[in-house]
């Protein structure tokens, strides 16, 4: 009997030790978020560090395509940004700066954008970069026959004119002051004409797998499910900013806990999309840097404005007042987020802080009573079935219950959810996440609130229609002066906030972690920039 007791005790102790090994890091104080790792510290690169190292990055999913026009997910951009460059880009302060262009000029009526191109640039395959390349690239992606994922993104272009071999003009269908931001987007990058010609000659040629750009790194290998490898490109045009690493390996690791373990075990150098709970504990590890800062994303609850109960603005406002955003952020995002005070993330150009909806249950109840729903109503909330989204949904359910709105949560796998939203049948409340990839206001609001963006296949799944918003967005696009555009965007945000077609929840943080010996890693527009990165 005594032996049995001893055995049980030992087993229990072992089990406890194993469990504590798994959770020993929780409960630590949170790390302080700071500037993008390495951004602020432009240190001199030690000579011996140059190209002696290979960097490994764990991504949350596999790349969808290495053709910048055929991928729309932000995950792929981490890889693409090492190989492809555009005429313009955004710097760390999200200001537009030229790269492959030397300068640019938007016409006074905002209908055309002229670029002077940098000379002497070669693609990874040795072919030259010039105005013809830009024209052929843009003509190809815009052509709907080619079925490129980014075709609609470049839909604003009427024509592309080659002025001379190093001057090109992009003409818009109608005045469009957001054109500059679109041309600075990571999708507006260029591939070699040789490659493009292969695709034109043989439609079966796989451009998704043969990326040839002008960036400091060139494509080496893509092993499905295992890695994408890029290596330093010796012929890079900017001799002052050559690749400092021999190669970068991007590994898809879908399981977040595994990504964290890989970083702890020094098997990877950088982890993107770090779970917020782990970010807290990892911030205290002396070998790791955790970076967190606002993203371009917005998490919201959409409402089907065609339904009677959501037709009254007061109901929509009441639901905004009923949610304690701070509590939501702390409970579901471990504090890594900012309460929404506009339909846009504060990082988006054109963002203007609005009064928002402070947590006020009494006000919510009062508005519901005024609207004829003193006892609330029943609602169905659709969400993706991921842990994070289900947690948000449950929190919303709990909070809305306090004002009498009885919510039933229905979780779907994301593909199913999109299809249901597109079908437009049975939609009531739904949790959405919108990322303003261009970091400018038009792309932040038009896809979600413009009358012509209702489903199928568009993102205005709440069928919100408001002439004033449509008009303001159009006027902002036509405005040539920045101040005028800003004024229109500010007004549009004010109207949208007041109209409350969404429950505006929060802007989640981008959370990445890296090993301390990796320097000069940048984070711009939710994308990890590794062009200047090196290892000590």
């Amino acid at each position: 009997m005594r032996r049995r007791v001893r055995l049980l005790t030992v087993s229990f102790l072992m089990a406890t030790a194993m469990l504590s090994a798994c959770t020993s890091n929780s409960g630590q104080p949170p790390p302080t978020s700071g500037p993008a790792p390495g951004n602020a510290q432009q240190q001199e690169v030690p000579a011996k560090a140059v190209r002696n190292a290979e960097l490994t990055v764990a991504l949350e999913a596999e790349a969808t395509s290495l053709d910048p026009w055929n991928s729309t997910d932000s995950n792929t951009l981490h890889i693409l940004s090492t190989m492809f460059e555009g005429l313009l880009t955004l710097d760390e302060n999200r200001e537009v700066v030229p790269i492959l262009a030397t300068d640019y000029k938007l016409s006074a009526d905002a209908t055309s954008l002229t670029f002077h191109l940098r000379k002497g640039i070669l693609f990874h395959d040795g072919s030259p970069f010039d105005a013809e390349v830009v024209k052929k690239n843009l003509d190809y992606v815009r052509n709907k026959e080619n079925g490129m994922a980014r075709a609609s993104f470049f839909g604003f272009i009427k024509e592309v004119t080659v002025v001379d071999p190093y001057t090109i003009t992009v003409v818009a269908k109608e005045p469009n002051s957001a054109m500059v931001a679109f041309m600075a987007h990571p999708s507006a990058t260029f591939k070699s004409l040789k490659e493009l010609q292969k695709k034109i000659d043989d439609p079966k040629y796989n451009l998704d797998r043969n990326p040839v750009g002008t960036g400091p790194y060139q494509f080496r290998e893509w092993k499905n499910g295992q890695f994408v490898k890029v290596a330093a490109f010796d012929g890079y045009w900017d001799k002052e900013k050559p690749a400092k690493l021999a190669a970068i390996l991007f590994k898809p690791v879908t399981e977040a806990s595994t990504r964290v373990n890989m970083l702890k075990a020094s098997e990877v150098d950088i982890v993107t999309s770090l779970p917020t709970l782990d970010a807290r504990s990892m911030g205290t590890d002396p070998n790791l840097d955790v970076y967190s800062g606002p993203s371009l994303n917005m998490i919201y609850v959409g409402m089907n404005t065609k339904l009677d109960k959501y037709k009254d603005k007061r109901v929509r406002q009441a639901m905004n007042y009923a949610i304690n955003k701070e509590q939501l952020i702390s409970q579901v995002a471990d504090g890594f987020g900012t309460a929404a005070d506009s339909p846009l993330s504060p990082l988006v150009k054109g963002y203007a802080k609005q009064q928002g909806y402070p947590y006020n249950v009494d006000k919510a109840k009062q508005l519901l009573t005024e609207a004829g729903y003193p006892d609330g109503f029943a609602a169905t909330l659709w969400t993706r079935n991921s842990t994070e989204f289900v947690a948000i949904a449950e929190n919303i359910k709990m909070q809305l219950q306090a004002v009498g709105i009885k919510v039933e949560v229905q979780a779907y796998e994301s593909g199913t959810l999109f299809e249901r939203l597109d079908a437009g049948e049975g939609t009531d409340l739904y949790i959405g996440r919108w990322g303003t990839g261009t970091a400018e206001a038009d792309w932040g609001m038009r896809p979600n609130f413009a009358s012509d963006r209702i489903p199928p296949n568009y993102n205005n799944s709440g069928y919100y229609q408001n002439e004033q918003v449509d008009q303001l967005l159009n006027e902002a696009l036509k405005a040539t002066a920045n101040s005028m555009a800003q004024q229109k965007y500010t007004e549009a945000q004010k109207v949208i906030m007041d109209e409350a077609p969404w429950i505006f929840l929060y802007v989640p943080d981008v959370v990445i972690a890296k090993r301390k010996n990796v320097l000069d890693v940048g984070v711009t527009l939710d994308t990890v920039r590794l062009q200047a990165a090196y290892k000590q």
Binding site: K144, S152, N224, G225, V253, T258, A265, N459
Partner: protein, 306 residues
Amino acid sequence: MARYIFGRILGMIPILVIISILSFLFVHLTPGDPIRIMYGAEMDMATYEKVKANLGFHDPLYVQYGRYLQQILSGDFGVSYKTKTNVSDEIGKRFLYTLGLTFAAMFWALIIGLVVGIYSAARRKSIWDRIGIISTTTIISIPEFWFGLMLMQMFAVQLGWFPTSGSGTFAHLLLPSITLGFGVSAIIARFTRSSVLEVLQEDFVRTAKAKGQRESVIIWTHVLRNALIPVITMTGLQFGFLLGGAVVVEQVFSWPGLGSYLIDSVLARDYPAMQALILLFSVQFLIVNLLVDISYSLVNPQIRYE
């Protein structure tokens, strides 16, 4: 025997046709539009329709099925929507990873399962038997996901003995195969135990005992031959399951096998890959079952197939 095997293989053909129809319908009727998933929310209708036409979605389902059948009969599983690479090539590469993982897992499972099962049965109602039962019950109830992460945390992160995930070396194989094998070992142990116990009560065992044969001799020569039949069936089934993609373990350890391929394909609604994988898993199951049936006669030559 040859006639039996030939008959079984012939019998697989109608089953495979039914599976191909069901898998085709299942894949095409699953909610979620592959184009929308591939190209995001903001695709204009003209481009959408163009992509849809390119993928042949405008044709009625039976036409699409006919095309699919024609394709697979010529040994072509099409091009993946997501990776734009040939599905057959991809399956070929990933199959080896899954096969390796399955064999390694079955190796652990059989060693642990048989030893624990036989020993527990032989020492029935002893403390070791109880420990065996309790630990196997516990192991069966532990989610593989958690168990894998725990092993990773201990042996890869804390002790640094093995890589956390990925593939390439024998060391990469160890933790995922143990994670997989442990769950199966518990099932095999319990099956072996009850099967051995059952056979131990047979008359011929009593006779052997009466003749004064040693217990170990009785178990190894008389009991196991009979007791292993249900164990083989269970092992075969488990092998088929593992070969059909050890989905969770492959996800946790980023193992580039068929399980993770299936998950990626389903999430992307990659129809060609999903269809090919379902068909492949079905064929695997049929083959494994056939091999299991044949192996009965190898274990116990008294079993004959006509």
